[in-house]
Structure formats: C-alpha cells, structure tokens
Symmetry: C2
Subunit: 420 residues, 2 copies
C-alpha cells in the first residue's frame, strides 16, 4: 500500500461543486488501494477577500491577527472537503496546521517550517481515515500562536507532509496539465514536460514559472520528495519532478524549458566611482530594504573612472530601493538613478547545459534573428537569463522556444482554471 500526499489549490476547491469533484478524486485514489493525506488551500479568492476585509478595518493589520484571520480560509475548505468525503462513505478527518504538527518559527506571514510532528495524522491514517490538512498554516511552540507560510504555502505544506510521512509521491493538483516548456498562453506549441529534475524546476520557478513555488521545490529537493504536478480537471499524467540519485547519469535534454517574468524592474546607478567596495556598499543599502535583488550587471568603466551598475528587483520592491539609495547618494557618490519598469526577463533552463557548449551563442543568435535587443545577461550553471524590452518578451519566448527545438507537434491545450 502506497502513501500518497495530494495538494489541491484554491481554484480546484473554489465552490461546492469543486469540493465535491475533489472529494471524488481523493476517494478514487483511496479506492485504488492507497493511503491518502491531502493538503488543501482556501476556497477560490477567500484569502484575498479576507485580506481586503483586514485592510478595511486596519491600515496596517497586526501580523499575528492577520495570520489568525487568514487561517480561517483553509479551516473552511478542509472541513467541507472532509464532510464531502464522509458523505461518499469514506472516513475522513480534517486537521489544522497546529493539529497536524506543522511547527514553524514565529515569523507571521512568512513562517519557515522548523519541524513536522504528524502524530495525529499518522494514527488517523493507521485507522484507515483519509486525512485532510489545512495548507499554508503552522504553529509556533514558543508563542503558542498560529502562523502562515506565505503565498504558495499550501505547496510547501504538502511537500513537508510528504517528507515527514515518507510518502511515495506528492501530487500537486493545479489547473494546468503540468510543467510546460514555456507558458502555453504565449507559445502555442509549448510541450508538457514529462520529467524534470528538481534542480531544473527550481531554476524555472525562480525565473518566473508560476506552476510551482520555489520554497516547495527547494523543500522537495532537500528532503528527496518526488512531485507529480498534474491537473485536477482530468486524469492525464502530468510532470514528474524528481531528484536523481547521487552520481546517477540521466540522459537529459539540453534545455528543459524557458521561463519568462514581467514582474521585475531595472534600477541603474549611474556614475559610480570605480573603486573597490562601492558595489558592495550599494547592495548593502538595497539589502536593508529587504528588496529581492535578482540580476546584477556592471558596465565597463568609462575613461573618467566612473561605472554604471544595473540590477533588477521585483517592481513591488522598487520604490523602497530607490528611496534608500537616494538617501545615501552623497555617501556612495553616484551621479543619478534610473528606474525602468518596462523590462521582461527570459530564462533558458537545462541541466544538459553543463556538458553542452554553445547554448548561449545559440540563444543570442535566435534573439538577434528575431530582432530583439538584449539589455542584461546573467548565467548560472544550468540557466541563462536575458533582459529585453517588456513588449518584445513574447516574441523572444517564441523565437527561443522554436530555436531550441522545444515546439511540440500539436498546440498546447490551455485549461480554463477558475483562478490563481
């Protein structure tokens, strides 16, 4: 008998119909002879609606109370899901994050899991019950307060449960068929990826692929959990995200997929004195604002001993970074700041890059042929990212996808999900 952990997101349980559909799906897995543990998100837009209410009563809601509030969302969906399963004739029990032993630190709104002690879950499973756990939430032992893991927390809950319960697989149900070689809404011939390493998945997620959250993939990688990303609207096989054994040589395609991201802005610090320590000083200032710096490029020094430093941050972090830098202008000694939120980022990811040369040349050639200008370049061992104008990003994606032979024979089917 296998133990399967399944995660259903908010769009899968958006209404009573969705909950009944998911209940049937869970029962099918049980009928097939598996033990089942489910992590479930809040219904549809519940979390956003609760957030709106919070901001109506308090301009800056207290983080402890905000977590107390938001965790009501999964409490509703998990109880409904458990009773729907019960009414299909199968034993089911719901558990909050705290009841499930999801122990976190005390950072409200962005808590990290420090321990998982699923004692009650294990005994419920042993008694033959299907276990439903509230995603996204945890509990701090010191303050005895309820915490939340931040956006995408339900994926992390599922993976953490799979690790703690030594599940055979962790199925992440979503409103698309799996992980694609590119966003199928932009690239019609995007292909579903059958298998991908967690390392590649991590790079794709970091580069903007929305289907899985980085933290969940990281957790799966660290704890050796195999993921199966698949649709809750059909029975198709989705994408397996696996962890190759140490020393295992896998026949990997050179390129796994291409991710794009329009959520970043570029800040250029113009006229920085080209002397040691200036760059470090600039990024210390930015780091203090908690802005999440992604790509960094330093241009060649000009004759006058000055250089320009450009970097990208999420648009939501942009203003804070600009303000912090402006306040320190005299200390750094730069001339001016430029802010550009009309950029797009494209990242080519593939473990096969390690052993294949010429990938970047081929990428630049494809973009050149499509008439697209490259503004920044950054690379990691298995990824090449470039920044272009935002309005050329879709063309860039299609050109690169085609140049690397990723196009499938048929158009991708995009399922109409009901939400995020």
């Amino acid at each position: 008998m296998s133990l399967i952990v399944q995660k259903f997101g908010g769009s899968s349980v958006a209404d009573a119909e969705g909950i009944k559909r998911v209940a049937k799906r869970i029962v099918e897995t049980r009928k097939a002879g598996n033990d089942v543990v489910v992590a479930v998100s809040a219904m549809g837009d519940t979390t956003d609606e609760l957030l709106d209410l919070a901001h109506e009563v308090a301009p800056l809601p207290e983080p402890r109370e905000l977590d107390m509030l938001l965790t009501a969302g999964e409490r509703i969906s998990m109880a409904l899901l458990a009773m729907a399963i019960k009414s299909l004739g199968y034993d089911a029990r719901s558990f909050t994050g705290s009841q499930a032993g999801m122990i976190t630190d005390a950072r409200h709104g962005a808590a990290r899991i420090v321990d998982v002690t699923p004692v009650r879950l294990r005994s419920a499973v042993d008694e033959g019950a299907i276990v439903i756990v509230a995603g996204f939430q945890g509990f701090n032992r010191d303050t005895k307060d309820i915490t939340t893991l931040g956006r995408g927390g339900s994926d992390t809950t599922a993976v953490a449960l799979a690790a703690a319960l030594e599940a055979d697989i962790c199925e992440i149900y979503t409103d698309v068929d799996g992980v694609f070689t590119a966003d199928p809404r932009v690239v019609q011939k995007a292909r579903k990826i059958d298998r991908i390493t967690s390392e590649e998945m991590l790079e794709l997620a970091a580069a903007g692929a929305k289907v899985l959250y980085i933290r969940a993939v990281e957790y799966a990688r660290r704890h050796g959990v195999t993921l199966h990303v698949r649709s809750s609207f059909n029975n198709n096989e989705g994408t397996i995200v696996y962890n190759p054994a140490e020393g295992e040589t896998v026949e990997e395609p050179i390129i796994a997929g291409v991710a794009t991201d329009m959520s970043e802005a570029k800040i250029t610090v113009v006229g920085v004195p080209d002397i040691p320590g200036k760059a470090a000083y600039i990024f210390k200032i930015v780091a203090k604002t908690n802005a999440n710096v992604d790509m960094i490029v330093q241009n060649v020094s000009s004759a006058a001993g000055l250089t320009d430093i450009s970097f990208t941050v999420p648009k939501s972090d942009g203003q804070a970074a600009l303000t912090a830098l402006t306040n320190e202008q005299s200390n750094v000694g730069f001339k001016s700041l430029q802010y550009d939120d009309q950029i797009g980022k494209l990242a080519l990811v593939g473990a096969g890059m390690r052993t294949n040369t010429g990938v970047s040349a081929k990428l630049f050639e494809a973009l050149y042929q499509a008439g697209i200008n490259i503004e920044m370049i950054s690379t990691s061992e298995i990824r090449i990212s470039v920044v272009t104008r935002a309005d050329t990003l879709a063309d860039a994606l299609r050109a690169v996808h085609s140049a690397f032979g990723l196009d499938g024979d048929e158009d991708a089917v995009v399922h109409a999900g009901t939400g995020r």
Copy 2:
C-alpha cells in the same frame, strides 16, 4: 480597576464598519480605566452561510467537521476586531475557544462547558492587552477536537469567561435597548425593564423572549454573574439581570414581563386508554426523538374510559414526534393523532407571583374581555403560560400587558438591527 466582559453578537459586527464601531466602543471602556475581555460572534450571517455550504457538499455533514467549519466564523471576526483595536493604538490579542481554555464535553454542535482555564487570557490582561475571545466554541480534552456550544453559544462564552475571570459585570451587547416587558414590535407601550432577577429572566427566555439565551442565563445564575443587556448602537443603560443574595428580600413587581412564542405546535393523542402508565409510555416515545416537550395537558376522562393528551413541541420537532407515535399506535392503543401548528403561547412571568394571589384569575379575565379563547394552561412558581390561536396572540399580548399595568408612558423605540 474593574474587569468587564463584553459580548458582541453577529449583527453588531456584520461588516467592516460594524467592527470598527465595536472596536471604538471597546476602547472607550478601556479608556475609562477598565480591563476588558470580549466574546465575539461570527460576522452577520456567516454561520448560516457556512451551514448552507456544508449542506451543499454533504446531506448530513459530519458533526466534528461541521464544528471545525463553523468555528472559522468567529476566527474571522475576532481577528478583525483585534486588528481594528490595535490600529486605534491599544494592545489587543485574539484567542480561539481552545486557546482561551474553554473546555467542553465532546458533544459536537451542542457541547457543554466542563471547565474554563483562562490562563492565557489572564496573563494577556495582566500585560495590559484587551482580550478578544471567539464566542460559541470550545475544545474537548480527550478527543483534542474543536467543539461548538450551539446557537446562542457566544452569550454562554461571555458568561463563562465572566465567571472564570471573576469579572465585575458581563455586558451583553445586542441590537435592542435591553429586556422589555413585552415584544416592542407588538406592544407599542412596552417598557424597558431596568432590573430583573435571573430567575425571572430564565422564565422569560424559556417562554420565548429572544434577547438572551436560556443557557447563558442559567450559567450566570449558577455562577452569580451579573448581566447588563444593552444596545451596541447607543450608550443607554440597558437591563441589569442580577442574582439576589440568599435571603435578600427585594421589592419585586408582581409581573416582570410577558413573553410570546409562535414556534410551537400542539399534538393531541386522541382516545388514550385511561389506565396508569399510558402517559409515561407516550412521553417516553416522544423523548426518544429528542423532541423538546413544553406544555402538557391531559383532559378529563370520557365516560368510555378514554382520555386525550395534548402537548406542545417546537414545530421543527413535530414531524419526528408524530412518526414515532404512529409507529407505536398499536402498543399505546390510542385512536388518532391531531397536529396543530396554528397555536401561540403567552407567558406571564414575575417573582412577585409567589406572594400575590389572583394573578391567574386576572390573566384569564383580561383574555376573556379581549374575546380570546384559552386552549391550554400551565403554571410554574413564577410563571403562567396559556396557549391561544396563533392569530389572536398579538391581541392577547396587548390585552395582558395593559391589564397588568405594564404599559409605559411613551412608545418603545425599536432599533433597526441588521439581523438576528
């Protein structure tokens, strides 16, 4: 420094505006130099909406899961209320029933409080925080499961907290000005009662007065908690529900108030053999359906050795009682059943009845003068109840209210509450 427990119902916190208004009110109490502990219900119709959802996904929702579901309602209101108070510059912390130490038995949906251990509340109060507690909910120590106290549970939560914390007073905020001598929507000259004993309040509540729940009044009576029933929409003094000290002689009016109730139906068991044990057998059958029998009348035996037994039950229990009796017809040996849901009940309550004779005669005379027929009569030490036709109940109420000199000088002001 006094410790005041305040309870706000769903209609007081129906939306963001309501929550902000209640937050201000709580802060005023704090500013006046009091420690404040608040029990809050779910917002507006949240509980009913969650119940509807439950019935959409499961015809007979599992009681454990239903409690898990419904407790999300107070979790939302209490967190919003705490953050609203915080944003007014006062420390506030919300606690679930389980965090507040509200220990109950395991009867889901109708749990009884077995212990209150408000350790966390006490230390939060000692640290100067305003404490917000989820009404209606508790926790069973053996199953480690969440429970609910049933409808009106938030009143009981407030009273239980007041008892456990030895509060100076327990204020029950509602959408009317207090307890009235009669329903002011029916009797324009109904007067707000300034002070009433818990014993009288208990009889009024049992007889249909909606302003307070019986269980909460019982709990207050048993634990010596003084209640103040008042409006959350103004600062008027409401009604004090107090417990006279043992042996204390209070100058009590003969009649405290008149309650009416249209929620019951009358079942008549026709042609019951008039031999010992038959009545006991009938009510054993009815009791097995959990129907809540209120008034019972057995008519004089007919010459044929047969008698009729009539009793009232809530209309919602009527069908189950009828079915159970029909199934046992041959064992009981009755001739037929009559079901009548067009009845109304009027109850006159007053501790002064104990020492004043002639109250029932005066009641019957008033009804006779108003041309109203009495179908059933039942009395307790401080209450007389009569059953009339439903469509004459309002006339009966006005006649009795006037005959006992309860009419005030001015018309009662009925506040437009937003809900139940």
